[in-house]
């Protein structure tokens, strides 16, 4: 990826949510960046967004561009996404490797796409389109899914191809990787070692939940567990192009003290890496 070179600095921060607003205003010491969800600012809250952009390094993350839907993109959603990027002035924008709509329906959530060469080309072309529209680099996120679709290649190779075809980076969701590895019985380190280490620009981290049948779920409601931090450390040490780590939390948002502790744990991942690098 040509457009996002490592800077030697790895920021830590959180996904901005209204419920975290008062804590964020206190400028917690280890929060050096924020990720905002583009859809939360579609056609409103522009003043708040401009304030956030003045106070923090921002990244704009999308949920609904549906890069995995073949055919033309939804231009209205792209226009609104572009407007948010224009105000937020992020270093990069991001979206998911997924589809949320088909030709006739909006499914309302992220769904997996088959890991095929044709699909890699579709996602990559759409990613380029978004990057061009926003005039910023784009990075793409691996999702969690209960269903593993058959295809031409393994998931890491699929991600590498998309990054290569789309000239984009990877937003590696460590929790999604952990959840998929448990639910679909594979080794996450082996998976990681097949990913091009230069492509990983940003990480997402949050705790996982467990359903009644013991399957793991990504509901953004739990504190980060030690096993997630352990995997995250492996990723941080491996990812040569890493520039930011974002803590996600949408539900059961804890008190400020606990949020501080969660962010400090992410900061320690970075310290450990620099110690290991000497």
């Amino acid at each position: 990826m040509k457009s996002l070179k490592p800077t030697g600095v790895i920021h830590t921060g959180v996904g901005y949510r209204g419920a975290l607003g008062s804590w964020i205003k206190t400028k917690p010491k280890d929060v050096t960046c924020l990720e905002i969800t583009a859809e939360h600012f579609f056609d409103h809250n522009e003043h708040r967004l401009a304030w956030l952009a003045r106070e923090f390094e921002l990244y704009v993350h999308g949920l609904g561009l549906s890069l995995g839907t073949p055919g033309p993109m939804d231009l209205e959603t792209l226009r609104r996404f572009q407007r948010v990027a224009e105000i937020a002035k992020p270093q990069w924008v991001s979206e998911h490797i997924a589809f949320t709509r088909t030709a006739g329906m909006d499914l309302g959530h992220l769904n997996p796409v088959p890991p095929t060469r044709a699909m890699a080309e579709i996602v990559a072309a759409h990613a380029r389109r978004v990057a061009d529209a926003c005039q910023r680099p784009i990075i793409l996120e691996n999702i969690t899914s209960h269903v593993q679709l058959p295809g031409d290649m393994a998931e890491p190779d699929f991600l590498n191809e998309i990054c290569e075809f789309g000239d984009c980076g990877l937003l590696l969701d460590v929790t999604n990787l952990f959840i998929n590895s448990r639910n679909h019985c594979f080794d996450p380190i082996e998976w990681l070692n097949r990913i091009n280490p230069d492509t990983i620009v940003q990480l997402h981290i949050v705790g996982y939940s467990k359903d009644a049948e013991g399957r793991l779920a990504d509901d953004h409601a739990k504190a980060v567990q030690p096993e997630i931090l352990e995997l995250a450390q492996e990723v941080v040490n491996y990812a040569m192009g890493l520039r930011a780590i974002i803590l996600e939390r949408d539900m059961e948002i804890p008190e400020a003290r606990e949020m501080d502790a969660e962010i400090s744990a992410l900061r320690r991942l970075v310290h450990e890496r620099f110690l290991a690098d000497g």
Binding site: T69, F99, M105, H109, P114, T116, A118, V147, L149, A217
Partner: protein
């Protein structure tokens, strides 16, 4: 393989419990019925129906996250688990917009719940949410009161707002 066709067929399976049940019984027949050609059928027939169902439940959960806050009393009285189960049972077979999701689930829940489940005022409010309209008045005869309350329901962006007017002892708001 036609990627657009693949995504369309997968989308139709994910939003319809009826199609998923049929897929579990006869994958190839169901895929053909959904318009899949030979390459798409070959690519999709080995998807485990159980995993497909689990992915569909994730989508249902996302719908529920939008529906539940619009019906706080119903959810509280049923309990989170029971309310979700009722929704899941009713909604898994159909796909609809958020507004219709709330209204049609509520209509179905009202048919299935005993009249003792809620007060007369609650039933009136839920009926108003289901049927639409801008303004509605109800007289409510409460136990131990000489005069009935007047329940005024009006439509707003979040569903409806309610005012109760009455003489004598303090009316509830």
């Amino acid at each position: 393989m036609d990627s657009a066709l693949y995504i369309n067929v997968l989308g139709r399976l994910l939003v319809s419990g009826v199609h998923r049940d049929a897929f579990a019984q006869d994958p190839e027949g169901t895929l053909r019925e959904l318009g899949a050609d030979e390459p798409v059928t070959a690519a999709m027939r080995t998807i485990p129906p159980r995993r497909l169902e689990e992915q569909a439940v994730v989508l249902l959960r996302k719908r529920w996250v939008l529906v539940a806050p619009a019906l706080p009393e119903l959810c509280e009285r049923l309990g989170e688990g029971k309310a979700w189960e009722l929704f899941r049972e009713e909604a898994r077979g159909v796909w609809r917009t958020h507004d219709r999701d709330t209204r049609l689930f509520l209509a179905s829940a009202m048919e299935r719940l005993p009249s003792s489940f809620a007060t007369e005022a609650d039933w009136n409010r839920w009926q108003f949410l289901v049927e639409g309209g801008i303004l509605r008045f109800h007289l409510i005869h409460a136990e131990g009161r000489w005069f009935p309350w007047l329940q005024v329901l009006s439509r707003n962006r979040n569903g409806c707002s309610e005012m109760r007017l009455g003489f004598g002892a303090e009316p509830q708001h």
